[in-house]
């Protein structure tokens, strides 16, 4: 669904990433690791078309990002759920509406079942905060809300950048559980994380592959962690 072929990217100056090849197929589960500043966030941004590669090709659902119009890109993003490292919300709307925002902007709010939203909020432990405004939430609560927002449209691909950075181990497992369930439904999952314990916990449940950015290249890490 998402294919990167010999991709390079630079923000000006030298290449940050080179010769990156990656295919996210339906039902695949990947972790992305690497030292801070290696380019994990950059790679994720390439995967949902926020960045255009400086070399190579990125294809989203079969379409080359360079050939996509802005509306194509918008429609593609409705099929890709993203959890950003710095979760941003509409600060004037309550959490529940923020989580439902992808439905609202795609005009699918009417046909959505409100019970799903409640259940999802319950799963990420935010039922009580449903009416709170985002600035009133803790860092971990924001991350959970961002994850809930990323999955509400039941997207084909979920890209999560450090989704468990600010939450305790128990909640991390709970969020992982949610992603694993979605993966079993055939969604492709890519999680950037430093948390090796989380990777181990996932490997116990699904066939997760671990990718590592080293020396500007994307490598398959072995089974040994």
């Amino acid at each position: 669904m998402i294919e990167l072929e010999n991709v390079a990217h630079s923000y000006g100056g030298g290449d940050l990433l080179t010769e990156v090849g990656l295919t996210l197929a339906p039902g695949s589960f990947h972790f992305l690791t690497g030292p801070s500043g290696a380019g994990k966030t950059t790679l994720l941004r390439l995967c949902y078309g926020e960045l255009i590669p400086s070399a190579g090709n990125v294809r989203l659902f079969g379409q080359d990002v360079r050939q996509m119009s802005r509306d194509d890109l918008a429609r593609t993003r409705q099929r890709i759920g993203v959890v950003h490292q710095d979760c941003q919300f509409l600060n004037h709307l309550p959490l529940s509406e923020n989580v439902a925002l992808p439905l609202i902007v795609s005009g699918r709010e009417a046909e959505a079942d409100p019970a799903n939203l409640r259940e999802l909020l319950h799963w990420v432990g935010l039922s009580r905060q449903a009416d709170a405004l985002p600035p009133e939430l803790s860092g971990g609560e924001r991350q959970r809300a961002a994850l809930a927002r990323a999955v509400i449209m039941s997207p084909d691909v979920i890209l999560a950048d450090e989704p468990t950075g600010n939450v305790d181990w128990e909640m991390s497992l709970r969020l992982l559980q949610l992603l694993v369930e979605l993966n079993k439904m055939g969604k492709a999952i890519l999680i950037a994380t430093h948390d090796l314990n989380l990777i181990r916990a996932a490997k116990a449940q699904v066939a997760a592959r671990v990718l590592r950015i080293k020396d500007r290249r994307l490598l398959q890490a072995g089974a040994n962690l």
């Binding site: 078309g49 802005r70 950003h84 992808p102 609202i104």
Partner: protein, 301 residues
């Protein structure tokens, strides 16, 4: 064109949700409404001015174009002879219709406003007036003057053009100025809306980023802003137009006998014209905001 209209109607019909995704703003909203109102108020006056001066120009051009006067000043004894000579010339001049010697009563009536009704016209050495009407083709005033000078030295042709033309020109110019003012008011409104839309877009950069990230299309994002600004412009301009029209209606009325000046104001169907100002203002706001929004959106992926 149809698509554009549909789109405008869709935008104005609105989508409550699309409105909510942009945070409400109290103060700048009131400023936009106020400015749109002030602009509409000015537009009403510019419109009244140009329509009134247009009427004035048309009336002067019309009423005065077709008449002229010959004034004969001669010693008492020669008056009749010269008048006859003038009439003979006029009857044979192409383009002149119905020359008519004004009677003593008519001349007295003309002078009455200046000297009172008891003026003894017959005992004063007043010039004799001959009124004439132009035909469709008009006459050659210069040639007529030459003939009159040769055969009736006391006769002077006054075709009113001398003082009519500058007046008509002035009234025409006034109408043009009014129209130019309306154009400038429209452009200033567009500039003002663009500025405040840019400010609103910049203040909501995060909102726009988030919307874009969760898959909102450009039109959806733009619509939230466009609808707001078009709505504000419509509200403000409606209020401004209303106040302006009331102010024009309350202006002291013009002399109904058709005095020298027509009143500044609207007449008959003319009252419909200012009602177009609010929708026009909304349209200007629509395009200005839309352009500003798309300009900003294309700068982000």
């Amino acid at each position: 064109m149809n698509g554009v209209l549909d789109q405008m109607l869709a935008v104005l019909a609105g989508d409550r949700q699309a409105d909510r995704v942009v945070p409400p703003t109290g103060f700048t909203a009131r400023l936009t409404i106020f400015t749109a109102g002030a602009m509409a108020f000015l537009a009403v006056f510019a419109l009244a001015l140009s329509m009134a001066s247009g009427r004035l120009a048309d009336r002067w051009a019309d009423a005065l174009a077709r008449t002229a006067t010959v004034r004969i000043s001669a010693p008492q004894g020669q008056m009749q002879a010269q008048t006859d000579a003038v009439m003979a010339i006029l009857w044979t001049t192409p383009g002149v219709a119905d020359p008519r010697v004004l009677s003593a009563e008519e001349q007295r009536a003309l002078l009455a406003p200046w000297f009172g009704p008891d003026l003894p016209v017959d005992r004063l050495p007043l010039p004799q007036l001959v009124e004439l009407t132009e035909t469709e083709d008009g006459f050659d005033a210069e040639a007529l003057r030459l003939r009159l000078a040769a055969e009736a030295p006391g006769a002077v042709l006054d075709d009113h053009a001398r003082w009519r033309r500058p007046l008509v020109r002035a009234a025409d110019r006034l109408r043009l100025l009014g129209l130019v003012s309306i154009g400038l008011i429209g452009l200033a409104t567009a500039a003002m809306i663009t500025l405040s839309a840019n400010a609103a877009l910049a203040a909501n950069a995060q909102v726009i980023r988030v919307l874009r990230m969760v898959g909102a299309r450009d039109v959806y994002i733009a619509r939230a802003f466009v609808r707001r600004f078009a709505g504000r412009a419509l509200q403000g301009a409606a209020a401004g137009t209303l106040v302006g029209m009331i102010a024009v209606a309350l202006l002291p009325g013009a002399d109904p006998a058709g005095g020298f000046l027509t009143g500044l104001g609207f007449q008959g169907w003319g009252w419909i014209v200012p009602l177009f100002i609010p929708p026009l203002a909304a349209m200007v706001a629509f395009w200005a905001t839309r352009a500003a929004a798309f300009r900003m959106l294309t700068e982000m992926t």
